[in-house]
Symmetry: C2
DNA sequence: CGCTTCTATGAATGCGTATGCATTGTTTGC
DNA sequence: GCAAACAATGCATACGCATTCATAGAAGCG
């Protein structure tokens, strides 16, 4: 059998069921005017023929594909894998599917947008990637809602959902300060990414407020990956004259983990005894026994839900909202990489976790 | 502006360019009969209008969507994230896109298949999930090629690509034996999954060949996840009378890592001094300093390429091949979790890696 | 019982593009 | 210099379904 088999269409089903093609269409369209008896006849015939409505054809008239595009920049970061998984599950529950576009980290997503326009997707979620304002306005003109996940485009009026990254950076700063640190190193990611910028900004702001000197806050670039942070740390500490900071903030967990391994396994340092460390995201990997990483948890489920809400997939006739920017607070998760100060007063909203791997 | 804006169609472009709609279509169809001059006129007009051909409409006549469905069972295993990424990149290079279907690990994919039929995908890749033979034959009847990735369906004639899992299990067995182990524990995954079964079978076969007693090979179930293996190990060794095996084979890397962390951080054992350990897959996480996991590397790129070849996306008129089963040999990667025997003769095809995290 | 109001149905049309066919103009071959 | 082959183009139609419109029958109402 070859692939040129003519497919079974609603006409075939109609013929078998002894009704019109319209009736078949209605049988598969919830809420349409059809007698229950007729519907059953149709469904029966459809089952006999293994008929499944062709959504490609139907979306031609309905102008809805039930496909949402997800642009992903960095699958090397487990956080975004989790994000993908969450989006996919939520959308599947709604009878929608995810069309994936992977983009090289840091690269422009413009080309991806051009491709997804062809598919007439109902909406676009953009994570971990750059996008020009020209593209957002093209999407807007074509009536395709686009929501930025955990980033925003300066100077654009595209809507987005994100963690309060600056606020999270401040939480980490406070934890370090409470534990007595006075000199710091930040390992930042993509310098063009607002996520990295904002976390670093909040972190530095808080430190300066507490009187830390600017010269006691160093920064190196870890290219948003485990490997990048690992080698950045080795490079930085390769200069033996460099004074060692008391605390390191990895702008995301995967980089904090890379830094941690370099510090422990290549530089022979103990954490938190010699050096304290924190990340951001709260990926499952950071909870594991070798890491026990103190971090800020991003409320993924809530962020995903709000992002999907902003897409207004169920009310396509609504005008597309613009310029919405919805920051959601993160929460400090205190684990083993920052020593607990004596008689420490835990700030509200902090979670302390010991060994979550144990059941 | 609402989403009901009438879209710009090939007719609009045709009007602006002063040609017929057919000419517009041909301008965007490589290899069609159109004068270069006309094509330029059309492309110019298209650019002015931000026109992008509607592939939904075109696939209605061409019967090709340039969409490939990827059914994923377990995104908690980084190996499959890597697989997803590789498929996505390859397909994007070909101008095709990936439609994601996530399925609960161990659950049937039948429902996913029903959904993807609606989208008239050009092909299906199934990883890490169960599938009934009824579904494979429905796909077959509808002319949709389906390729199983790293699994096969007993009793079905669906084609697939996989690592030589049994052979890989044998490699691990040999490495353990060479290092002097004589008692063993296997941590297996989904009992219905052929991948886990085959690896375990090859492992046991080889051990028995070398005179290991059946009673010296134990098995526990780790549900294919880090957490599953972690707690399975704690449960198993909670029985203090249990004699400790000399070697543990985690049927995949993520489980081996979970086992390793439980052994080290909860049971206070040293690896490889007290116990040797190996995994399977060679995920990047297992290469990292805290793990240095000895494993069998699956040749992902080759497997993905062959899987895509088997889909014959470029020759849709060919009859769908059935029953092809293409095992590809894995390669032993010897790292730190198995002690190197004195004067050991490395088998052909073994790679020895010291500290790959260092640049 | 005659009227209106509803419900269920089918015929016909449109969604945006690809393509077979016919037509025109151009080039080739002898 | 004329027939034949060919390249470029437009017209018309098909792809599979949703939906509007018209119609026929059923039910409600006084």
């Amino acid at each position: 059998m070859t692939r040129n088999t003519t497919r079974t269409t609603s006409f075939d089903v109609a013929a078998l069921a002894g009704v019109s093609q319209s009736a078949v269409s209605r049988a598969f369209t919830p809420g349409s005017s059809i007698a229950e008896e007729t519907r059953q006849k149709v469904l029966e015939a459809a089952k006999k023929l293994n008929y499944v409505p062709n959504s490609i054809a139907s979306s031609l008239t309905t102008k809805r594909t039930n496909i949402v595009a997800l642009i992903l920049g960095n699958l090397g970061n487990p956080f975004y894998v989790h994000v993908l998984h969450t989006f996919s599950q939520r959308l599947q529950e709604q009878g929608r599917q995810v069309l994936i576009f992977t983009v090289d980290p840091g690269a422009e997503s413009d080309e991806a947008i051009l491709h997804l326009l062809k598919y007439q997707v109902d909406g676009v979620i953009l994570t971990a990637a750059q996008l020009s304002t020209r593209m957002t306005s093209i999407c807007h003109d074509r009536g395709i809602p686009i929501v930025l996940f955990n980033r925003y485009i300066p100077g654009s009026d595209a809507s987005g959902v994100r963690c309060d990254n600056a606020g999270g950076g401040r939480l980490i700063a406070e934890a370090f300060l409470a534990a007595g640190a006075r000199s710091f190193l930040m390992i930042t990611g993509d310098p063009k990414g607002t996520t990295s910028q904002d976390r670093a900004r909040g972190f530095v702001e808080r430190l300066l407020e507490e009187g830390v000197r600017r010269s006691d806050i160093a920064e190196i670039e870890g290219s948003s990956s485990y490997e990048g942070a690992y080698s950045a740390v080795l490079r930085h500490f390769g200069d033996k004259n460099r004074t060692r900071p008391e605390a390191i903030f990895g702008i995301n967990d995967i980089m904090a983990m890379g830094a941690m391994d370099a510090l422990r396994f290549r530089l022979g340092l103990k954490i938190p005894e010699d050096l304290m460390l924190a990340g951001f995201d709260d990926i499952p990997e950071g909870r594991r026994a070798p890491y026990q990483l103190t971090t800020v948890r991003q409320p993924i489920n809530q962020m995903v839900d709000e992002a999907l809400d902003m897409l207004h997939l169920d009310e396509p006739s609504l005008p597309i909202e613009r310029g919405l920017d919805h920051p959601i607070a993160g929460r400090l998760i205190w684990r083993g990489t920052i020593p607990v100060p004596p008689a420490y007063q835990w700030p509200a909203g902090t979670t302390r976790e010991a060994e979550p791997n144990a059941e």
